[in-house]
């Protein structure tokens, strides 16, 4: 991240506090996470404190302070997925990857995240890898889904 890139990014936004979350969305879209240096630049742009920016970004689930792994695995924790066996799929995924939600595997291949509901409740349990949806996932499917991405490296 360079100062110039951030300047470019911030140029598209006003200087009122209401821009803050939208700026953070943009920073994350650009870098995959919120780099620490970005916090200071955003605070300066909005004429607010780093503390305020940090407070807002840690409040919301969407923002990450660590870069994520190459593949992002998201397991739906919605109620419909849950009653259709989603909890066991989630346990199996944690076992398969060897990490807890919010963590990244040591080889930086996979990050595991949960989501409260993806809104395709009729076809759950649902797992999403890098934006690809897998529906009606069973415990047995978990290994083959991940294996496919391990192969890709």
């Amino acid at each position: 991240m360079t100062g110039l890139e951030m300047d470019d990014l911030l140029r598209g936004f006003g200087r009122e506090q209401k821009e803050l979350t939208q700026i953070l969305h943009q920073v994350q879209a650009e870098y995959g996470y919120i780099p620490p240096q970005a916090i200071r630049r955003v605070a300066e742009h909005l004429n607010t404190t780093e503390n305020e920016v940090y407070g807002v970004l840690t409040f919301y689930k969407a923002f990450r302070l660590q870069p994520r792994g190459k593949h992002l695995v998201t397991v739906c924790q919605g109620t419909s997925c849950h009653v259709r066996g989603g909890a066991r799929v989630f346990d199996e995924m944690k076992k398969e990857l060897g990490v807890e939600p919010g963590e990244t595997t040591p080889d930086r291949m996979f990050s595991l995240e949960t989501v409260n509901c993806l809104g395709c409740c009729a076809i759950g349990p649902t797992v999403v890898v890098n934006g690809t949806y897998y529906s009606q996932v069973s415990v047995e499917d978990v290994h083959s889904i991940i294996a496919e991405y391990r192969k890709r490296k």
Partner: protein, 578 residues
Amino acid sequence: MLTHPSQLTVWKARILEERPVPKKTVVVSNGTCGRASGSLGIIEALGRELDRRGLRETVGLEITGCHGFCELEPNIVINPEGIYYGRLKPEDIPTVIEKTILKNRVVNPLVYADPRTGHRYALQKDIPFYRKQMRLLTEDNLRIDPNRIEDYILADGYQALAKALFDMTAEEVIREVDSAGLRGRGGAGFPTGKKWQFCRNEGADRRYIICNADEGNPGTYMDRSILAANPHSVIEGMIIGAYAIGAAEGYVYVRMEAPQAVQQVTIARDQARKLGLLGKSILGSEFHFDIQIVEGAGAFVCGEETSLMSSIEGRRAVSRQRPPFPAQSGLWGYPTNINNVETWANVPLIIKRGAEWYSQIGTPKSKGTKIFSLVGKIRHAGQVEVPMGIRLREIIYDIGGGIKDGKKFKAVQTGGPAGGFLPAEFLDLAIDYDNLVQAGSTMGSGGMIVMDETTCMVDLARHYMHFTQEESCGKCVPCRVGTRQMHDILVRITRGEGEEEDLARLEDLGDSIRVASLCGLGQSAPNPVLSTLRHFRKEYVEHIKHKKCPARVCKELVSLPSQGARPAHRKAKKRQHD
């Protein structure tokens, strides 16, 4: 640019004239479930096959939002007949084109067969899932490509706006909505007309309106479907509301986990701006109004109106004391009116067809239709729109086809993490706001999650408590600490470490949290626990006294891994979705 209301009619006539009338049109359901099940592959196959046979000019291809029958995605409807094919694979497409499009014959193996009777239904309108619905808001989903405002215009879109702006005063619009009996579809069921009037009555030089599209209840997906399938209906409703209330600025606050909704409502907003349906002098009138779209950042509490407003202001989404209510002091301290997506979508309908017509649908105190996400252990999972007052049994058995895999109905959960459970004795309950509250649940925004005998109610109560304690904004102690305490007790019980006193502790904590919490999230958080304690106390006792999980879900309490939560014969399907 439209500068006079009559231009809407002229434009509609021109679209009709210029648009080719194909002999057949294939309509593809391409909502979130559709894409996750492979609708993009179907669209690709259709395009390929139509090209190969040189049929592009004579056969229409319409890509729409969700048709509601999510269980059978990906599915298509072939018009004008309305022939319905579900669970399609790309390899089925050549046959569909060959037989149905060219030879006018139905492809029997692709026709929907009722799993209970084996009866086959070739036409979409005859399928029991659709027949008992009343699709006032969702029927247009089958005709509208959300990328094309022309489709909405053909469905008489923005006619209600023209009527409101030019034939009605602001007060008359409010009166119409009020006498229609429309109540807030976000869950609380407050009369919409009254809410608008409160906001209008506030003397201020600026007022705001907000569309709450932060649909966060797990297992609930109507609002994002409306926004993704028919975004202009919501925008039109908002413009009419802004005119009635006297607001010049509006916000759509939409959940980031619904990327399709964000995308479609943004496209629709930009189209409306370009045509002069948003901005200065709308349709040539003296009314100015514009809409900003704000994407949420993954905080459930933003569904609560005061938190949502904090979030739009770019701050931590913590709730605040009411009163003052948003109508008095909302966004940046100005009077603000917040309604849910489905509420806004009802407004054009009421203005177009009149309060008298609208108020004939439903029960004495709950008017119109309600969209539910009918999910869980139900045979025909999907999105259903039904008139208020319909019996629960009709929704679950006639529309939903009953319970999956021959299991027994145990309960249905309505109202999400704020709601409650209705066991079998409530199957004949007529569904409306007041009856649901009386039965110990709530309408909520329309989640309906069906459970069978393999669902453990204690585990489910723990699931909901886990959710709310994680999503508590942390401002007030009862919610922040109390929900955590309840959650920890439930975890103990599901591990077989519960004590007999735990049930009293849960009830006691639940009562305190309900009374003492600052906002709706905390006030309703104990409901799923209290409701399961009321209807399924025996199950709790089994877990505590006999260290048994009757549904065989709690893994510490069963020796063998529980089976049967999911049909084993269907494999996971990998689908591209972008």
